[in-house]
């Protein structure tokens, strides 16, 4: 039976592959036949992610994306060593929730470096002719519903994720002529180990409010991985410059 999301033989770079959405994206890609380059900071977690995947020509390449300047050259070197890419899922990023009045300028720079600058540099590396398969290609950025709607303590996080959404639209237009599609997935709250640890920082009242805002309950990493891989695959051939909201109804209010 034909599978429109078949990824056989396609090489895909996944950042943030050591946990959560990135990790499940790697697992799904391996089931669909892709060759995956897993990147993250923690070697042990990357190896654990690889162990969960279907066997294939997968490679681990640890990289700390805070080193933004080196990202384009790193992507090109990965292509040189392993073969050109036809897809990239940028799942690395971090959440910061803090009262606006307490945020320091350095925190703003750090947040943008990881959540936005790294995505910019990654796309520059990916689109380079030495890094990319000459056929159709697709980039997917993992952003957040926080890029669309506000919430107290989310000022900085929202700004970084909103930047990613608007960036992806202009990039999609610029890269269409190169046969590269650019899209985002925007999840609401997803159950990850990091999220569950962080959730205890909220009072019971706040936790109840957050849960009540998700009519279908909290998401699982695989819920988002399915959407990210859909956008990577040929099933989404006519989709570019858009953001697919995957939020259990969070934005339907």
């Amino acid at each position: 039976m034909e599978n429109p999301m078949d990824m056989t033989g396609k090489r895909v770079l996944v950042t943030g592959a050591s946990s959560g959405i990135g990790r499940e994206t790697c697992v799904l890609l391996s089931r669909l036949g892709a060759r995956v380059v897993l990147s993250g900071r923690n070697m042990e977690n990357l190896e654990a992610a690889l162990a969960d995947m279907e066997p294939g020509e997968h490679v681990i390449s640890p990289y700390d994306l805070a080193g933004v300047e080196g990202i384009p050259a790193w992507v090109r070197s990965l292509a040189k060593e392993n073969g050109p890419f036809s897809g990239c899922v940028h799942s690395a990023g971090y959440f910061m929730g803090k009262a606006f009045a307490l945020i320091k300028p350095q925190e703003v720079r750090d947040a943008f470096a990881v959540n936005f600058d790294a995505a910019f540099a990654l796309a520059q590396g990916f689109r380079h002719k030495s890094a990319r398969d000459p056929g159709p290609a697709s980039i997917v950025f993992v952003t957040s519903v926080a890029g669309f709607v506000g919430s107290p303590t989310h000022t900085l996080y929202s700004a970084t994720k909103g930047a990613l959404i608007s960036f992806s639209k202009s990039l999609a237009l610029e890269l269409a002529r190169e046969n590269i599609r650019v899209n985002c997935v925007a999840p609401a709250l997803v159950k990850t180990p990091l999220m569950e640890a962080g959730f205890t920082r909220f009072t019971q009242e706040m936790q109840n409010k957050i849960l009540g805002d998700h009519p279908l309950g909290l998401g699982m990493p695989m819920d988002v991985a399915h959407s990210a891989v859909f956008l990577l695959s040929d099933a989404a051939t006519w989709i570019t410059g858009t953001t697919l909201v995957v939020d259990g109804g969070y934005l339907a209010h």
């Binding site: 929730g97 009262a99 307490l102 107290p152 205890t200 920082r201 009072t203 009242e205």
Partner: protein, 79 residues
């Protein structure tokens, strides 16, 4: 940074946007400023950042005094 009472009081100065040295430990929270959920979440974030201690939020909303907050650490803090 190890958590001590003076270091924690400095964090409270910052939290309530007061001059450094304002909080001495004897204050009621409502005398320092509004004590609401946003302030609770901010304090927990600051404590994590400065002392690498993650305090669960439960119970914070009921705190009335600076010493109630000190008690949230669940141990004696050095003077």
């Amino acid at each position: 940074m190890p958590v001590t009472k003076p270091a924690f009081y400095k964090v409270l100065d910052e939290l309530f946007e007061l001059d450094e040295g304002t909080v001495t430990g004897a204050e009621r929270l409502d005398a320092l400023g509004e004590w609401d959920s946003l302030r609770v979440v901010s304090l927990i974030a600051l404590v994590d950042e400065r002392f690498q201690i993650i305090l669960p939020a439960e119970g914070f909303a009921d705190a009335k005094t600076v010493q109630d907050l000190v008690a949230m650490f669940g141990k004696d803090l050095a003077e």
